[in-house]
């Protein structure tokens, strides 16, 4: 875990004091809304449908128990007793009052947290694989470098007014759990001839024009990473379209200029600035790496795990879906589902946050992660402790055994909260989850990712959902469009639009028809939905979705 320096502490204090004065001046009328809005956005404060919304960064999704407890305290004291974890590893509070926000930021600062650059046209919260530092398949922990990027980008004077927001994701494993190909810059730690470096991908993004990123460099050495990033963002800062908000992302810059042209420009910019990087960043990285040392694992009895696994089918079902392989075979990575059937995806109550913090303290080396799939991870749990962890979670409604299954849905806030939305997302997610739970089909269906956004901005990642759902406004009525075959992993793909949209009443039956078609079409239970889709293509699913059109064509 990164430890703040005196410099970091002083920086946050000063920044919060500045914002407190700005809020006061807004309230006493000396600042107009037009003057105040960019200032509040610089501190993560939005105005949404029914209230303000404060977006707090959780850098690379990593938290300790004190920080999680503080998030719970803030939810109780200044919000409505819960928080919403997002696909960008942030937490959003939906009900703060303007006057209270400076106090909330001060409370966050007590545990080294903040809301800086969670909005605005800057480099946003750097995200990372939520299994970082624990995964069995990882080449190296991506978090030290994510922290270095955070320090480099925070308040970077050249990059405060980019053409548009800028998002960086890092993974240390070949299996991509950080959706790096749908980010402005995606970084993958790779090994070449025994040394670690980075594969650099640029120009991915979702939103109005979804695109999969392209490889800019197959291998950049650790010492060259920051100068390379600086060169990329500089080139984008100059070249990025400022005439049209929708064309301002680097994905459009790469698309319009071509990857070779971008590479040539980055190369020449790199040559110009390389010598400014004298190696201090590498000293910083070494210091940061020490903060992320692997915890000391204990050797203890794993039999409680095996015996509970045999005797309690509920525990077995949970262990089968919610546990992933840890680099230490006596340990496990636990994914805590924030997707109880019928609940709001990504929401956790303050009680639940406190319980997760306690479990992390007691059984998890004091570490927690937030996943881009809106779940919480305990990255280092000894297998012998899994039954205790499970029963404690279950008692607080956190024991749902559905990670990666049909009800583990990503849903953006949609029209229930978001001022930009064109339709609701949350109730659709709630209904799908309860419907398939009632059918008792979820485990039979197996791995299937449904992702829902309430507008074209694609915060819910619908383009990379195996089944993606996009809420739209069709003549004043909520309408839902389906895309199929999307994938957010290392084999990233943008889903294909299936056809005309469905009303709110029709969307659940439509999803059911797709799922039933899959169960019919798969060559064995081992063939996942995505693999069946890849083998057969859109046609049979389209026929199932639109039976009337299929009948007429026949």
């Amino acid at each position: 875990m990164y430890h703040y320096t005196d410099f970091d502490d002083a920086f946050l204090k000063e920044r919060n004091a500045q914002f407190r004065a700005q809020v006061e001046r807004r309230i006493d009328g000396s600042l107009t809304e037009d003057e105040f809005k960019p200032l509040r956005l610089m501190n993560g404060l939005y105005l949404q449908l029914h209230a303000y919304m404060l977006r707090v960064a959780i850098p690379y999704g990593t938290l300790n128990s004190r920080q999680m407890e503080k998030l719970a305290d803030i939810a109780d004291r200044w919000d409505k007793g819960y928080g919403h974890f997002t696909t960008r590893q942030n937490i959003q509070y939906n009900w703060p009052e303007l006057r209270d926000v400076p106090d909330m930021l001060d409370a966050l600062a007590e545990v080294n947290m903040h809301a800086i650059q969670t909005s605005g046209n800057t480099i946003r919260n750097v995200t990372a694989d939520h299994f970082a530092g624990a995964a069995a398949d990882e080449v190296a922990d991506p978090r030290p470098v994510a922290e270095l990027i955070r320090q480099w980008s925070t308040d970077h004077p050249e990059f405060q007014f980019l053409p548009r927001k800028f998002k960086v994701a890092v993974t240390g494993a070949a299996a991509d759990r950080a959706v790096i190909k749908a980010h402005d810059i995606g970084l993958q730690i790779v090994e070449k001839d025994g040394t670690l470096g980075f594969k650099v991908i640029v120009g991915g993004g979702l939103g109005r024009t979804p695109m999969i990123g392209k490889v800019l460099y197959e291998f950049v050495s650790q010492e060259d990473l920051l100068p390379t990033l600086e060169a990329i963002v500089s080139v984008y800062n100059l070249l990025g379209r400022r005439d049209n908000k929708y064309k301002a992302r680097i994905k459009i810059t790469v698309h319009e200029n071509g990857i070779e042209d971008i590479r040539a420009r980055v190369d020449s910019r790199y040559k110009l600035i390389r010598e400014q990087f004298t190696g201090i960043d590498q000293q910083m990285l070494a210091r940061i790496e020490a903060d992320f040392a692997t915890p000391t694992f204990v050797k203890s009895d794993v039999t409680p795990y095996h015996s509970t696994y045999q005797h309690d089918p509920l525990f077995r079902s949970w262990a089968d879906t919610n546990i992933a392989a840890h680099k230490n075979p006596d340990y496990a990575i636990v994914s805590i589902s924030l997707k109880a059937h019928g609940k709001t995806p990504g929401d956790a109550t303050s009680r639940q946050m406190r319980l997760m913090a306690q479990l992390a303290k007691r059984y998890g080396h004091d570490e927690l992660r937030i996943s881009h799939e809106q779940n919480v991870i305990l990255p280092h749990v000894h297998k012998g402790d899994l039954p205790s962890v499970y029963y404690a979670l279950k008692a607080e409604g956190l024991g749902t055994a559905n990670i990666g299954l049909i009800s583990d849905i990503i849903a953006c806030p949609g029209m229930d909260y978001c001022a930009l939305a064109t339709a609701r997302s949350i109730p659709i997610a709630q209904e799908i989850a309860t419907h398939f739970d009632a059918l008792k089909l979820e485990h039979e269906v197996g791995p299937l990712k449904i992702k829902i956004s309430g507008c074209i901005n694609a915060c819910g990642h619908h383009h990379v959902g195996h089944i993606g759902i996009l809420g739209l406004d069709r003549a004043g009525v909520e309408n839902y469009q389906i895309t199929l075959g999307g994938d957010g992993t290392e084999d990233a793909q943008i889903g294909e639009r299936a056809g005309p949209g469905f009303s709110a009443d029709e969307i659940i039956p439509a999803v059911e028809r797709i799922v039933m078609a899959y169960l019919d079409l798969r060559d064995s239970p081992a063939e996942t939905f995505l693999n069946t889709y890849r083998r057969l293509g859109l046609a049979p699913f389209k026929a199932a979705l639109y039976p009337e059109a299929a009948a007429n064509a026949a």
């Binding site: 303007l98 006057r99 029209m415 229930d416 939305a421 609701r424």
Partner: protein, 103 residues
């Protein structure tokens, strides 16, 4: 032919709480049913300008379409229905504590 003017209310968010408010005969209200229904275009424009000038109490003033049923304004578009009531996943917002208080 110009489009006929349909009934509207003046709406905004409160500066301090951020919640949805409407202009009534005597100031701002949180309750859509208390809002003044504007049926005359010139009058609506005038009220909009007046309301927009209150920069130290309200944010984002605009005119929203309403239907009038039994003399009471109700939202035309579903977005306004959510604004008038609150989110649909929790009993939060206006549905939590029905209040008629004036701003």
């Amino acid at each position: 032919m110009p489009k006929p003017f349909t009934p509207k209310v003046v709406t905004a968010n409160a500066l301090l709480e951020g919640d949805v408010i409407y202009l009534s005969a005597d100031g701002w209200t949180r309750d859509l049913s208390q809002a003044d229904v504007l049926t005359d275009e010139a009058d609506a424009d005038l009220r909009l300008i007046e309301a927009s000038a209150q920069v130290d109490t309200v944010v984002g003033v605009y005119l929203a379409d309403v239907d009038v049923q039994d003399g009471v304004p109700v939202p035309v578009h579903f977005r306004e229905a959510f604004r008038a009531k609150g989110p649909s996943n929790y009993i939060h917002g206006k549905q939590e504590a029905p209040q008629q208080e004036q701003l």
